[in-house]
Each structure stands twice: as C-alpha cells, then as structure tokens.
Symmetry: C2
Subunit: 465 residues, 2 copies
C-alpha cells in the first residue's frame, strides 16, 4: 500500500519529487571516509583502485565534481557537516592545534544543534558507526549530541601512540603498522569495548553494525552516520582484502570501504528501503600526501590534506536515492556544510533560526528543479581565511603546503587568482590579467568576513585535565 501511495505521489507530482507518501520521511545515511582523496574512486578517474559499488552508486545517482568538505582536516570538517555551520562559529578550530587529540579537554559545545539532534527531534532513530572526533570526554561524546547509539572510535586511529617518539621510528611504524602501536579505544555507546581497537577488522565491523542498524530500524525513519576510520593512516584491512588491490595497501583499504558501501546499499535494497533512503558518500578532507603510497590521490587537483588548495578540500560527493534523485554528473558547487540544511527540511523540519547557518538547501539540484543555491566557498586553515571561491574563480590570500610538502607560508597581495573551470589544477595565476575579478572577489571576501562569527578556539587546550 505504501508502494502504491508512493507510486501515486510519484506520478501526480512528476518524477522530480521524493517518491514518498504524504508525510513520509526519507531515511538518511551519510558515509564519510577519512582522508580519501578526490581522485581515489574509479568513478572519479583512479586508474587502478576498483570501486564497483561506489561507481554504481554514482551512476544511479548524482556524482558531484565540485563538492567540498568545509575544512582540510578532520575535526572542523566533521563539526561543519553535523551543524551546517562553518566551524569557526562553534569554536571547532585552534590557532596551534588543527584537530582534537587524545589529551584534548574540549569538544563540540552543548549549544550546537547537530543533524542527529534535529532529526531525533523529528522522530528519527539516530546512530553513528565510526569515528567521532568532536571531543572524547564523556560530556562531548555522540550520545550527548543526539545519537541513540555509537559503535566506533573517539578520535583518529593514529593517536595515543605507543611507539617510541622520534620522526623516523614513528614514520616507519606507520608504514608497517601493528594495532598495538596506537592505544585507540573502540566504544559501544559510552562503554569501552576494546583497547587498542582491532583496526584490522574495523571496516568490516562497521559494515556489520551499519547493516544491523538498518535492519533494526527498517520500520522507522532513521539517520545513520558512518564516518569510517579508514583510509586515514595507519592503514588496516581485513584478511579478505589483504594484498588484493593492484593499488597496494591503500587500494585494499579503499576496496574494503567500497565493499562496505555495497553492503549498506544491498541491505537497503533487500529491505525495500532503496526508494525511501537518501545515501550520501563523501570524505572529510583530501589525501594525506606525505604518506606517499599510503596516502591517496587528489587526481587532477593540487596538493592535499591540510591545505586550502583544491586537493585539500574538494572531495567525492555522491548522492543516491533511486527514483527520486535525478541521475547525472553535477558540476555545480556543493559542500558537506549543506547536508544539514538539505536534510532537515526533507525530514519535515525547519532549520534553526536562532543562529547563523552556512549551509544551503541542495534540493533544487538533487531533484532537478533548479540551480544550486551555493555559488561560493570559504577555505579556512587553523581558523584563518586562506582562500575564497565564487563561481569559477578562486582567490588565494595565503598559500601554504603541509606535512613537509611546500610548507612555507606565503601571503599574496594581490591574491593569486585561478579559474577552476578552465584550470582545475590551479596552475595558471590570472591575477595580473583579471584585476577586475580579483577586486570583485576581495569584495566578496570582505562581505563573507563581516558575516562570520568566531567563537573561542577549542582545540588548543591539551594536557593533564
């Protein structure tokens, strides 16, 4: 009967409206890889990594080619995704520290409204399977931010090192990793399940937990957030994927994530939930290039993780919702910051009006009813605005590599100017030939800055608590 109503809704409203009966809300699954680069999937042009499940997801849905994470590193990127706000507003940045560590004191402030809270208030079952990284002290964990359940790790898999200090030994450990080098706990809700987490099986266990969550909540609208631990170094994968990829250990890890995406999509199909579920795949930032073959690829884009070049923040963005999302390749601008503002209305809610939000509603593009409402992107590093994009043009006020690659900080006056349509690799500075565009962009930068509220940075306090 639901099927019939859905079909009626489909035919009476045209193919570009959600295939749901009146009042029915879609399930939402967000799969969020860690340090996966723009060029790491088959559908995005990787020559050797095999990602048939993600490629199929992209072919059946929308593959966005100008989709951004809000930050070039982990914690701020996740804060923006879950709140719809640039991380400066929530204090999710530092002047000395880029992310939370195992001895950080703070976490995402209680006053922030996460997507899990917003959807929970609308009657959704909410679960997180994966890495949190927005504060691991009890008062900041997922259960305090709207999630009913959690299976995963509290911060990055390379934290709480047990191997000797000293650059070379640590670096060698990263390339020949053993799970006991990192004293990372695996949590179920607020209980520590194992420590160190057995990272070898973590992707496989995340897949199993995600499948179980979907089956358990098949009759309720649900929100499942799957922030993978991989492919952040150290790289681990289960036996079934070891030494299988032509792209080596990194390829093994991506292929296991791809398999796990297949598990989730297959489960949705088997449960008859495909047409009632929006699934999104993205990454928290670009590839960690300094780990060489253990890091990913930004494809044609410049630089990687930690930087405000395109390779640091432009990531895969795949949207899947059979019979509802208009399949295609989308070249308009979108960002992880837009997920909150897109999903809450789809769930029948309204976004908070007591605070500034930075996300837009991507529905017009998803459902083929109009152009993207986003035409700009702000690129922050350590709480400082380094670059700004509007339309095809991007200015760099400051450039700086990271992790040992071109790390000198350079301020540019006039700023560097690139046309990302003609030159996605940011190779050909146009500032001398298009000073008019530079001026326009600088005006836009000023306007952006004047609207930005900046909270006290919360990453910098570390040590004994």
């Amino acid at each position: 009967m639901v099927g019939l109503l859905a079909a009626l809704a489909f035919w009476t409203s045209g193919p570009r409206q959600p295939l749901l009966a009146e009042g029915e809300r879609p399930n939402v699954v967000i799969i969020f890889a860690d340090d996966l680069g723009y060029g790491d999937l088959g559908a995005y042009g990787h020559p050797t990594i095999r990602t048939p499940h993600l490629d199929r997801m992209a072919a059946e849905g929308q593959r966005w080619t100008s989709f951004y994470s809000q930050a070039p590193v982990c914690s701020p990127s996740r804060a923006a995704l879950l709140t719809g706000r640039i991380h400066l507003r929530s204090g999710m940045f530092g002047r000395r520290q880029g992310v939370f560590f195992q001895d950080s004191h703070h976490g995402l402030p209680d006053g922030e409204i996460t997507l899990a809270e917003a959807l929970g208030d609308l009657g959704y079952a909410t679960g997180i399977v994966g890495k949190w990284h927005l504060g691991h002290q009890p008062e900041y964990r997922p259960m305090r931010h709207g999630f009913d359940s959690w299976f995963g790790i509290p911060y990055s898999n390379d934290m709480d090192w047990q191997v000797p200090p000293g650059g070379e030994a640590r670096r060698a450990a990263m390339f020949s990793p053993s799970i006991d080098y990192w004293h990372v706990p695996l949590m179920r809700d607020d209980v520590e399940l194992e420590r160190p987490a057995d990272q070898t099986t973590i992707t496989r266990r995340y897949a199993a937990e995600a499948v179980r969550f979907i089956r358990e909540h098949r009759d309720a609208p649900f929100f499942l957030y799957v922030p993978h631990t991989m492919p952040h170094v150290p790289l681990f994968r289960s036996e079934a994927f070891a030494d299988r990829s032509a792209a080596g250990r990194y390829g093994d890890v991506i292929e296991e994530i791809d398999w796990s995406v297949g598990q989730i999509l297959d489960t949705l199909r088997e449960e008859g939930l495909g047409e009632r579920t929006l699934v999104i795949f993205s990454s928290d930032n670009g590839p960690w290039l300094s780990y060489r073959q253990h890091g990913g690829s930004a494809g044609p884009l410049r630089q990687g993780k930690g930087t405000t070049w395109e390779g640091g923040m432009r990531v895969p963005g795949i949207f899947w919702w059979p019979e509802t999302i208009e399949p295609g390749v989308i070249r308009e601008i979108g960002a992880t910051t837009d997920l909150f503002t897109t999903i809450v209305p789809l769930a029948g809610g309204t976004v908070p009006d007591d605070r500034p939000l930075d996300g837009v509603d991507l529905s017009p593009v998803l459902f083929g009813t109009g152009p993207s409402l986003r035409d700009s992107m702000a690129f922050y590093r350590m709480g400082e605005l380094y670059a700004y994009r509007r339309g095809p043009y991007k200015v760099h006020l400051v450039t700086q590599g990271r992790y040992g690659i071109g790390t000198e900080r350079t301020e540019h006056d006039p700023p560097l100017l690139f046309h990302l349509g003609h030159d996605p690799g940011e190779r050909y500075d146009l500032s001398a030939v298009r000073p008019d565009v530079v001026e326009d962009l600088l005006d836009a930068v000023e306007s952006h800055r004047s609207g930005m509220t900046v909270a006290e940075p919360l990453f910098d306090v570390r040590g004994e608590r």
Copy 2:
C-alpha cells in the same frame, strides 16, 4: 535473416563471441583525437568538461585505464597505430625532428602494410577523415597507403605558420588564433579543397563526412579512420560550441569532438550497424601542457606530450561493440600498436609474417576469454628508449620534460623505478628499495633492444626538395 543468424551465432557460442553470422566481418571505426590527455574526459575524471557521448560509449563498452599510444608525439604514434609496429622499424622518427613538417621530404615507406591496406585486401571499404601526418608528398598520402578516400589535412594544424617568427608573437597568435595564421591545406583525396583550411568548422565537417561514409558503406564491411585535427593547438570550434563549456575554449573543443562521436554512434545505431561495428576511441599522445589552459590534462599522471612519463603516452582507450564486447573497466595494459594485430584477425585475415610486429591481439580481453597478451610497454623519444614498463613496474633510463617544462635531460643509473599500480603519478622512486626489480627490468630492456630493428630515421630531412 542476418539478425536471426547473428542471434543463433550468439546463443550457440555464448555471449563472448562476436555477434556475427559465420563469415560476416565487423566494421571498424577508429576515432583518434590529437593531443587529448588522459584526464580530459568525464569518464576519466575531468571535473568540468562534459563528454556525455564518450561517457556512454565507455559505460556500454570497455574503458581501459592503462592504454598507451606508442609515442609521445604525433607522426610516430600514427605510424605505430596503422602498422602494428614500433615506429623505429619503419623509420618514422628523427634524431633532430620529432615529427613531419610542411617541408619534410619523406613519408611512411611504401613497404609498410597499413591497417587500411590489410583490410582493403580483405574486401573492406576504407576511408580516412582527418589528419594524416605520415608524409604529405603525393607518394606518401593516404591514397597510397590503402585508403579509398580522404577528407582532411596532411599535417598538424599549427604548421606552415604565416605569423611573424619570434616566440612571443607566435605564442600570442596561438592563444588568439585566426585560421589564416596557418597555411594548412584541406584535402579531398589528392585534391586541395581549400587553403588555409577553415579550422573553425573542421570538426563539424569531419563528423558529416564520417556519417556520410558510414551511410554509403552500410552494406559492406568498412574501415573508417577518424584522426581528428583537434584538440591540437590552435584551438578552433564551430559557432554551436563556442563559449559553451565551463572548461573554456579547450572544453568547447573537446565537447564538439564528443558531439561528433555521438553523431557516429547514433548513425551506426540508426543504420542497425551497432552490433556489427567495433568502435575505438583514443588519442595520439598526452596533453600539450605548455599551452596552459589551451592544453589538456593528464589527470593524475605526470607530465604530458613529448615525454615518456605516463602523462605523455597513457591515453584514454575506449572500445565499443554492443552485445559483443564485455563491458567494464579494464586495468590491463594495451596500446594503439595492438589495434592492427587485433583487428586484422577479426576481419578474417592473418597478420603479415614477413616482418616483426609489436602489437598483440587484444581479443581475449575484449571478449572476456582471457588476460591481456601485453605485459610490457616500451617508451621511446626521438628514437631512443627512455623507459620500459613490465607489469606494474616501470624503469626510466632517461627522463626529460619538454616544451619548456623541466627540459633538462637526465640519465639515471640505476634507473628510476616506479610501481604504477600503487603510484600512477610516478612520484615515489623505488630503485633503492627494489634493486631486484630494477635488475629484472634491465634484463627485459636488453631483451627488447635485441629484438628491435631500427630503420633510417626519416623525419630529419627538411627544406627545399
């Protein structure tokens, strides 16, 4: 009736044999772009260039991710494609000149057997629509090498310059091109139709000629070779494609080529020839990076045209033959040199046994019956072996950029060693950690060299004849 026989042949022999009746031979269309880079198509990951027809062709057929042109520049690459032989064997190289020019004396030797000759001998109608570049003197033109008809230009579209000499003026002319800057003739068979060729409409006219050729020969087996003039600089496109692409003028040009591919595939479908025609799309070498936004992109690969880095010779390779070619993404090695040796047997012939051939038969991969017979690739520049690949490993004996980009020539002893599966961008030299692999590869290099016959180089003689 043919359809019924074809269906019987299909079902009795399994889905992996050509869908043709006994004795029926497939038509063959080879579309060969000029200077189109590995990363320039949507299906190969370009973020802004739209290539829906090539993307569909790739989705319906095989998209090869390790497919090579035999040379990093034009004339030798075309010689290898048409003869199945590395160009050194036919003298299609020079020690001082990389290609033929408008004042070159020589051309492809009469003794070479081209694919057009081989297929003509088997009763095929043969046509070339596009750029020849294997000798423009009357005795070397396409009509002397097995083609029944020719519509196109004899050498590159940037030759016979009419603009003042001097680097900057010439370079400026390239970025603001006008057709009368280059005194390039447009030929029909052996007759000069116009001079300078109106390059603005050349892609559109190539499409029309290709469509006409297919319709005229719909009842005969035919071989159509479409070596485009574009996207070699200077870039021209017709009104309908001007200023249409988000990727600028280069994008316009690629999108017009994509449209023309659509014209060819649509014509085959309309004429009911889709299931009887093998269509191949590739490029003669990598992108000409020194022309900045007027050059293409090698995507994740290093360097471009003129070099023996991957970006110079790895190119898109798309094979389409509905109901016969096993669709998929192919990560095995293939090369344009293999087209001769693949196609002649499909047409019912046998390849010449009176000369060494370098191509292999790609049929096992195309029809899903076995692995690729090619496991190596030799990278020559100006007749000198610079690099050699076997399996995933590649050694560089000599490296050198080109066209003003890192042009210093560097001999490497030991050679540089890269694992192209783990590191398609050739960033991480493994020679120090895998001397055993270097040794193996050097043995393979010696074995390759000992089998290589080298003719007198024919590009170097230029000037008054």
